[in-house]
Subunit: 274 residues, 2 copies
Amino acid sequence: MTTTIGVFDSGFGGLTVLRALIERLPHANFAFLGDTARLPYGSKSRRTIARYAAESAQFLVREQGAEFLVIACNTASALALDAIQGAVSVPVLGVIEPGAAAARAATCTGDALVIATDATVQSHAYAAACHAEGLRSIEKACPLLVPLVEEGWISHPITAEVIRIYLAELTAEAAVAGLNPDVLVLGCTHYPLLRPLLEAAVPAGVRVIDSAQAAAEAAFHRINGHVAPQATDVPASPTSIRCFATDSVEKFERLGSRFLGHPVGQVQLVDLGG
Amino acid sequence: MTTTIGVFDSGFGGLTVLRALIERLPHANFAFLGDTARLPYGSKSRRTIARYAAESAQFLVREQGAEFLVIACNTASALALDAIQGAVSVPVLGVIEPGAAAARAATCTGDALVIATDATVQSHAYAAACHAEGLRSIEKACPLLVPLVEEGWISHPITAEVIRIYLAELTAEAAVAGLNPDVLVLGCTHYPLLRPLLEAAVPAGVRVIDSAQAAAEAAFHRINGHVAPQATDVPASPTSIRCFATDSVEKFERLGSRFLGHPVGQVQLVDLGG
C-alpha cells in the first residue's frame, strides 16, 4: 500500500519541503495543507499557534488519511511540535531538528550560521537544536527575504545585494562571538528558492544546509522504519498530490508552482474555523 | 470639552495617520487601536474584515469614548467602511476618499498614479475613488515597501533602488495607457516614512499626495462641522494619546515611535476575541 504523507505549513512556503519529499519519496501520496487564513503564525502566541497547528494536523490525519506528518513550517516546528504530537497518533517530523542534524553532519568547525524569519529567530529553536547537536550557532532574522521571494525577485540584483548585506552582518557578528562557522542553515521554507544567490554570497568554505532537504531525508529514514517497504512485485502508484488551503487559494495557485517546481493544480479551500 | 478621536488600523502603520491628526488637531484626545492579532487584513475575505473592523470600531466608541472615528487602514477603508458606519453611531472617515480628493485638488492633468499594497490595489478602491473625483488613475502594488520600512531601511540605497524600479514600471504603464500623471498618491500608511525617497524618485512635475495628511485635513473639517468649537476662555487640554493592540505589543512599541514621530508610550493589550 502506498504511504500517505501529510505536509502542513501556515502558508505555502512549505511547498519547498513537499518538493524535496516528492524527490526523496517519489511513490508516496501527499496531502499538503496551507493554513493561509490564519497566517502569519509568527506574530501569534504559542497557545494560539498550538491550537491552529493541532487542528491542521487533525485534518490531514483524520480527513486525508495521512500516516506520517511533516511540519513544513519553522514557526509551528519551533512552538507546536509537542501539541501536534499530542493531537494525532501518527509520527510527526518538524524541519528544525533535521536542519540542525544536517548542519552537524556537514560541519568541521562545529560552528553554524542560521538565517530565518524574525519569529523563528526570536524562538531560538535553531540555536537550541544546534546546541543539542553539540554545535555553536549564531542566528539572524532576514525579514526582507520572504517578500523578495514572493515578489518573484529570486535572481534579482536587489536580492543579491540584500543577501550580501545580511550575510556580512551575520559573519561579522559570528567573528565578534569568536565563532568560525563553515555551514549556513536555511531556517525558512522560502529560502531554498534563493539557494543559488546564497551559495554565491557565502564566504569561501561555508556550505549551505537546506532544512527542507534535510527534513525530506529524515522523513525517508523515519518512514522506512515505520512503514513496511513496498513488495517489489506490486508496481508503485504514481505520486498523488492534493493541496488544501484555508484561504487565499488564488495566491497559493499563482505562487505555489514556483515553490513546488511544477504546477500545484487545483487547490481546495477548507474551513478549519476561527 | 475635548473631542476624543478614535483611530483604527489592522496594524500600526496607521500611526502615520495619528501623527498627521495630532499635528492638525493638537488639542484632541486620541485612542488608537491596532488589531495586530488579526493582521494582515489583506489576505482575508470582505466578510471577515468587516466583522473585525466593526468590533474594533465598537471598542473605540463604547470603551474609549471616541466621538469620531478615522479608519487609518487602507484595506479596512476599502472593504469595511459601510460595515463600520453601520456598527457605530459616530462619524466615520476612511483614508481613501480624502487621498483621492487631495489628488484632484493638486492635479492639473487629471491623471493620477497610485501606489499601495497588493490587497489595496486588488480592491481597486483608489481607482474607484479617483474615478468618482473625475480623475483617471493607474495603480501599482509595491509589496516590498512595507517590509523595507519595517526593517528600518527608510533612507537605504536598496530602498531607493526598489522605489526607482517600481516607479519606472508604473510610469511606463501610465504612458502605455495614454495617461499624463502629475500626482502620486501614497495609498498605504507605511509609505509616508518613504516620502523623501519617493519625492526624489518621482518624475519632474509629479507631486506626492499623502493619504495620511489628506485624511487628517478631512477630519479637521469634518470635526469642526460636527463638534462645537471650544470656548476660547477654556484652556484646551494637552493631547492625550492612548494606544491599544490586540497582540504583538513589543513590535508595536519598538516600531511605533518611528511611525508616530515620538515614543508611543505603553501600549495596552486588549482582547477582541477570535
